[in-house]
Amino acid sequence: MSAAGAAFLPGAQGRLLPLSLPFGFFGTAVLFHLAGWVILFFAAGQAPSFAGGLGPVLAALHAVTLGVLTLTAFGAAFQLLPVATRQPMAALWPIRLALLLLAPGIAILMWGMAVYDAEKLAVGGTMAAAGMLVAGGLLAVNLARARGMPVVLGFARLALFSLFAILLLGLGLVATYLGRGVGDHGMLAKLHLVAGGYGFMGCLALGFSYVLVPMFGLSPPPKTGPGLAVLGSAVAALTAAAVGIVLTLDWLVTAGGILGLAASAGYLRAMALAMKHRMKKRMGLSFLLVRLAWVLLPVSILVALAAHLSLIPQNAAALTGFAIFYGWLLTFVMGILQRIMPFLASMHAAKAGGQPPLVTEMNARGPMTVHAVCHVAALLLVGAGIAADLPMLVMAGSAAGAIGAAAFLWFAGQVITRMLRRRAAAPKNANLRTAYE
């Protein structure tokens, strides 16, 4: 970098966060990923018949939903949302605070769930909720100053709205466990599932796809009109489902599911076009997982619809939750994480001076392959085990998932180690600080 370039012009700064922030979120998510499968392994006997309620299965589910999906979503959002909004994050301390609250909060919440302890539930739930409020608030501030990319921003706003709904619903559920609840627990749980799976996480996945997929594939950005139609369908779907659940109008919930299928069709068409017109021909192993997730999105909605219409003979609740959170969302997030971590590592290693290392130099192909194979095997085995009410299959699938998660942990470790080695080898006068610092 030239001396002239080292003095950044106002408003023209790069927007790379300090590496401890995104990698803090991603690294913690990778640990919860392993925990989610390990807990499910030990709770395999209860998994097929799970229909809500405290216990290790609920803990495993929240290891995935909060520990993996939410932490990864926040880590990615803090780094990527400024690209879409063309506004840097207002401050960094809320990001650090959010992680400090979320990581232990989620762990305590899971502990409370696993051992049927409502007080631990309350402590962990409060910490996690506080962390999500801080994170969500920072993202809301960034969105308020946003310009450009209306589809991405629309989904981000819908996701934030859903996040605040989840927080209220989650605290409401904790209150029922403490004997202080208001409202029907079953209804709250269904709303929590819809708001969490398709509201918060789903909208973040869809919204960020509109920026991540073109970025990784070097594709033209999807057209705004169809994207807004997808957003509109998603809003209608979530609204119909939520109102239908609250007012016990089954037909409205069904309508919500059908609208959700329409939204997913529009989204998948945009992704297909992006892939068709991409400049980068080889997308790598990570995008095999992303493509699989694209197939599982409509599958998860169909499973949810089938469960709602009582078309699934047994274990409908467990199958629905598994299809949404482990099937569609976890597959998508692990695919994106597998792509984004070496990419970010390369950019941070570039700060050490000289030219950035190749992304492939930051990668670890062996563990990535093990993870992908084990993840797919886990989905098939656990899914079959739930559908057929065979805990042994769930156990075998969870073991595969845990091996895959351990491989992913190894992969993440390799990426971080290589990045830190490059930075440690930097010339003494290298500027390792990002534009935010």
Binding site: S2, L218, P220
Partner: protein, 267 residues
């Protein structure tokens, strides 16, 4: 593979230089393409679809000619050259005395590339300001590029090989005009003595990255490219590294991040 209406003329000529001869045989108006400067300026931005509008030649006749096929039954000049159409309402408020002027006809006649001069002139126009451009043809692709930089435009023919294009910088109006064609990143590319320049300011992500990567992957691009950006493109760097290009930030205009990309061995 046959050429399509959305094929960039420069790409077609590169893959089959005889395209120029077939177009000239179709209509002498394409003799301009024998001028290497005009070919560089026009052909890089122009697609066959644009060429039909600019030249007033039916698109199907052009496609038959470039693909070496028989001409369609009706191949008369039925399409008027880019018709000025009625002047939009904002033209009534344009004061030619207060506008910036640029006549690129002498630049082209001298064998030089005018795009750099156009981009510099456009950059100096404030919001609400006007640039009057005199050109030998309706620069449809240039107008499309400047839409993305916040300009609306109106072109009118004044005589043989003389068009006047009025550019008004109005970001809100331009936002309504912008179209997102899949094959056009909207970047402006031109030659300077120090090599190729590309201006990606105002483009929606990932168009800047696409434009830059497309340029460095083009075998006709030299060993250096200067990028005019509005922020440091950190996400671009791994892509450059993969393709064996290095980067350095150099001095630019206020509010601009300017990068010099160099093809060569990595450290």
């Amino acid at each position: 593979m046959p050429f399509s209406p959305d094929t960039v003329v420069a790409d077609a000529i590169r893959s089959d230089p005889a395209v120029v001869d077939r177009l000239v045989a179709l209509d002498p108006v394409f003799a301009k393409l024998r001028n290497p400067v005009l070919r560089k300026v026009m052909a890089r931005l122009v697609r066959f679809r644009d060429a039909a509008k600019v030249a007033g030649v039916p698109l199907e006749a052009i496609m038959a000619a470039v693909n070496g096929e028989a001409q369609p039954a009706s191949s008369e000049k039925s399409e008027a050259p880019s018709d000025a159409g009625p002047a939009p309402g904002w033209m009534a408020s344009v004061d030619p005395e207060a506008a910036a002027h640029l006549d690129v006809r002498p630049i082209l006649a001298a064998g030089d590339e005018p795009l750099g001069a156009v981009m510099r002139a456009a950059a100096a126009v404030p919001e609400g300001g006007v640039l009057l451009l005199e050109a030998p043809f309706d620069p449809v692709p240039l107008r499309r590029v400047l839409v993305r930089k916040g300009f609306v435009s109106h072109a009118e023919p004044l005589g043989p090989e003389h068009w006047r294009v009025t550019f008004l910088r109005d970001a809100s109006m331009a936002a309504e005009d912008a179209d997102l064609e899949t094959d056009d990143t909207g970047a402006a590319v031109w030659n300077e003595p120090d090599g190729l320049h590309v201006d990606v300011r105002g483009l929606e992500p990932p168009q800047p990255m696409r434009a830059i990567v497309a340029l460095i992957e083009d075998s006709g691009t030299g060993d250096t490219v200067t990028v005019h950006h509005e922020r440091e493109p950190v996400f671009l760097y791994p892509e450059l590294a993969e393709r064996g290009w290095s980067h350095a930030i150099v001095a630019g205009e206020p509010g601009e991040v300017r990068l010099r990309l160099t093809r060569g061995s990595r450290q």
